[in-house]
Amino acid sequence: MHYLFRRFQRLFIVMIVVTFVTFLLVNILPGDVAYEMAGMDSSEAEVEAIREEMGLNRPVLIRYAEWVGGIFTGDWGRSFINKEDVWHAIMQRFPVSFELMILAQAIALAMAIPAGMLSAYRPNGRGDRIIGAIAFASVSMPSFMTAILLIYFFSLHLGWLPATGYEPLSEGLWANLKPMILPALSLALVEWTILMRTLRVEMISVLQENYIALARAKGMSNRRILWVHALRPSSFSMITLLGLQVARLLGGTIIIEQIFGIPGVGRLLIHAVYTRDFIVIQGCVTFFALAFVTANFLVDIAYAWLDPRVRTRGAHG
C-alpha cells in the first residue's frame, strides 16, 4: 500500500510538472495567440479586444490554474480555429488510435512469440542467427519508411489493400480492418523485435529448468514443451513490456496516422501543429502524457501484484 501511495504521489507531481511546462511553452514563447487569431492585417485595438475576450491579459499562473481545473471537470477548452471542444475532439478520435495500437501489438506478438521461441530453442543456432539478422534490419527501418514500402508494394503494385482511408466499425468488420492492416503492420514491424528479444532471453533460461528436462525425458514433443510448458513462465517480462509499449506506440501512431490518413488523436495533434491551434496542442500533449503515465502506473501495479519483492523496494533505485 505504501509503495502504491509513493508511486501515486510521484505521478501526481509529474503530471503537474508536465502540464505546467506544456502550458508555459505554448502560452509564453510563441508570441501572442491573439495576433494569430486576429489575422495578419488587424489593428492593435482588434488584437486587444480578442485578448480581453479570451482572458489572455491575465497572469499566467491564474490561467494555468483555470485550465488545470478545467481538465478535471472535462472542460479542456475550445479550438481557436473551428471552436471544437477539445475533450470531445480527443475522445472522438481516441478509439481509432486505440484500435490501431491494439492491432499493431497483436501483429507484433504474433511475430515475436514464434520467432522468440525458435531463437531460444537453439541459441546461436542457424534459426537464431537468421531471426537476429532480420530483427537487426527491422530495427534500422523506421515505421514511416516501412509504411512507404508497404504502400508501394501492397497498394500500388499488387492493389490488395487501400493506401489511405478509414472506415468506421459500423461499416462492417472487414471494411473497418482492411485499411488498418498496413498501418498496423508498419508499426508492428518495428515493435516486434524488442518483444522477441525479451522473450528469447527469458525463455533461454527457462529452458534450462529441471521441469523442462523432465518433460523432455518423458518424451514430450518439442512443440508441446515450448508452447505448453515454457511459454507461460517465459512471458513475464514480455507482458510487462507490452504494457509499456502501448504507451510508446502513442508516439508512433502520430506519423502513421498522418501517412495513412487515419483520423486518430495523432492526426488531430499534427493538424493542430500545422494550424498553430495552441489549445488543441496543449490538450493533446496532456492527453498523451496522461495516457503514458496511467499505462506506466498500471504496469507498476501489475508488477507489484505479481512480484512481492517490488513492493518493499523504493520507488526508484
Binding site: R10, I13, V14, M15, V17, V18, V21, T22, L25, V26, L29, P30, R122, N124, G125, R126, R129, I130, G132, A133, F136, A137, V139, S140, M141, P142, F144, M145, I148, L149, I151, Y152, L156, A163, A247, R248, L250, G251, G252, I254, I255, Q258, I259, L269, I270, V273, R276, I281, C284, V285, F288, A289, F292, V293, H316
Partner: protein
C-alpha cells in the same frame, strides 16, 4: 550474428553428442576470433558510412547540380545518364538532394546525442553523487520528461522554435537527456562509495575534482556505448520529423523530406521516395552494425582488463 557463414558450418553437424562437443569447440574459436578482430559486418558498413560522410562533406565540390536547381528538360524523370538517380517533380537532381540531405542527417546524428549525453552526464553525476534533494529533483524532471512521447515533444518544439538546424539538433538532444542521466546516475552511485573516492575525499579533494578525476573516467564507457546506440536513433527521429515537414525548412533537402515529397507520386515516380529510403535504411543499418561491433569490442576490452 557477426559471422553467419561460420556458424552455419558449425551447427550443420549437431546431430549427435560427439559432434556437439566439437561444435562447442568451434563456437568457442569463433567467439575468440570475434573478440580479437572486427569482421566484414564491421568493415563494409564502415566503408559505406565513410562514403556517405565524404560525399556529404564535399557536397559542393562534386560537380553535381545544386539541390534546388530545376532542370526543365527532366521533370520527374527516371534515373538516366544526366541524373543518375532521376529527378523529382520539380526536376531537381535526386542524387544531389540525397547527398545534401545527408549533411542534415549526419549533423543531427552526431550533434544531438552529444548534446543529450553531455547534459545527462552532468545531471546524472550530480544526482548520483549528492543524492538527497538533488536526486529527487532530477528524478522528477526525468520522469516528467519521459512522460511525453518523444515525437510529441519535438512537435511542440518545432511549433515554438521553428526549424533551424541548430534548433533541431538542440531539441533532439534534449530527448537523450533522461536515459543518459539515468545511466550516469546508476554508474555514479556505483562508484561514489568506493574506496578510491573516499580516499580522495580524505585527502581533501574538492567535489569537482572527485567527480572529474575519480568518477568520470569510470563511468565514461557505458556512456560511449550509449552514444553509439543514439546516433542511428537520432537520424531516424530527424527523418520522421522532416517527413512531417517539421525539421529544417523547405529549400534545405533532408532525407525524410524527400521521402515525403515522393509519397504523393509513389505510383508514377516511385524512385523519388525509394532511393532516399534505401540510402537512409543502409546508413542507419550501418551505424547499428558498426556501433554493435564497437560495443562488443569495448565490453571485451573491459573484461580483458579485469
Amino acid at each position: 550474428m557477426a559471422d553467419i557463414s561460420h556458424s552455419n558450418a558449425a551447427s550443420a553437424g549437431a546431430a549427435n553428442a560427439g559432434t556437439e562437443v566439437q561444435d562447442k569447440h568451434a563456437a568457442a574459436i569463433a567467439l575468440h576470433k570475434r573478440r580479437t578482430r572486427f569482421g566484414l559486418l564491421f568493415w563494409i558498413p564502415l566503408g559505406w558510412l565513410i562514403i556517405v560522410a565524404v560525399a556529404a562533406i564535399g557536397a559542393p565540390f562534386w560537380g553535381l547540380p545544386a539541390p534546388d536547381e530545376i532542370d526543365w528538360a527532366y521533370l520527374q524523370s527516371p534515373p538516366s545518364e544526366a541524373h543518375w538517380l532521376g529527378t523529382d517533380v520539380l526536376g531537381r537532381d535526386l542524387l544531389s538532394r540525397i547527398i545534401w540531405g545527408a549533411r542534415v542527417s549526419l549533423t543531427v546524428g552526431f550533434a544531438a546525442p552529444a548534446i543529450g549525453v553531455g547534459a545527462g552526464l552532468i545531471l546524472g553525476m550530480a544526482a548520483g553523487y549528492y543524492r538527497g534533494w538533488v536526486d529527487e529533483v532530477v528524478g522528477i524532471a526525468i520522469d516528467s520528461w519521459l512522460a511525453i512521447p518523444g515525437l510529441v515533444v519535438l512537435l511542440l518544439f518545432a511549433v515554438i522554435f521553428g526549424g533551424s538546424l541548430f534548433m533541431v539538433c538542440f531539441s533532439l538532444g534534449l530527448l537523450f537527456i533522461p536515459t543518459a542521466a539515468r545511466i550516469t546516475r546508476a554508474a555514479t552511485l556505483n562508484y561514489a562509495g568506493r574506496e578510491f573516492v573516499l580516499a580522495a575525499r580524505a585527502l581533501g579533494a574538492s567535489d569537482f575534482r572527485i567527480l572529474s578525476k575519480e568518477v568520470f573516467p569510470n563511468i565514461i564507457w557505458p556512456l560511449i556505448a550509449f552514444i553509439l546506440i543514439d546516433i542511428p536513433i537520432a537520424i531516424v527521429i530527424e527523418g520522421s520529423l522532416s517527413f512531417l515537414g517539421l525539421s529544417v525548412k523547405a529549400p534545405t533537402p533532408s532525407w525524410g523530406g524527400i521521402i515525403a515529397e515522393g509519397r504523393e507520386h509513389l505510383s508514377t515516380a516511385p524512385w523519388i521516395s525509394l532511393y532516399p529510403t534505401l540510402v537512409m535504411f543502409v546508413t542507419v543499418l550501418s551505424f547499428n552494425l558498426v556501433g554493435d561491433a564497437i560495443r562488443r569490442r569495448l565490453a571485451d576490452v573491459r573484461e580483458g582488463a579485469i
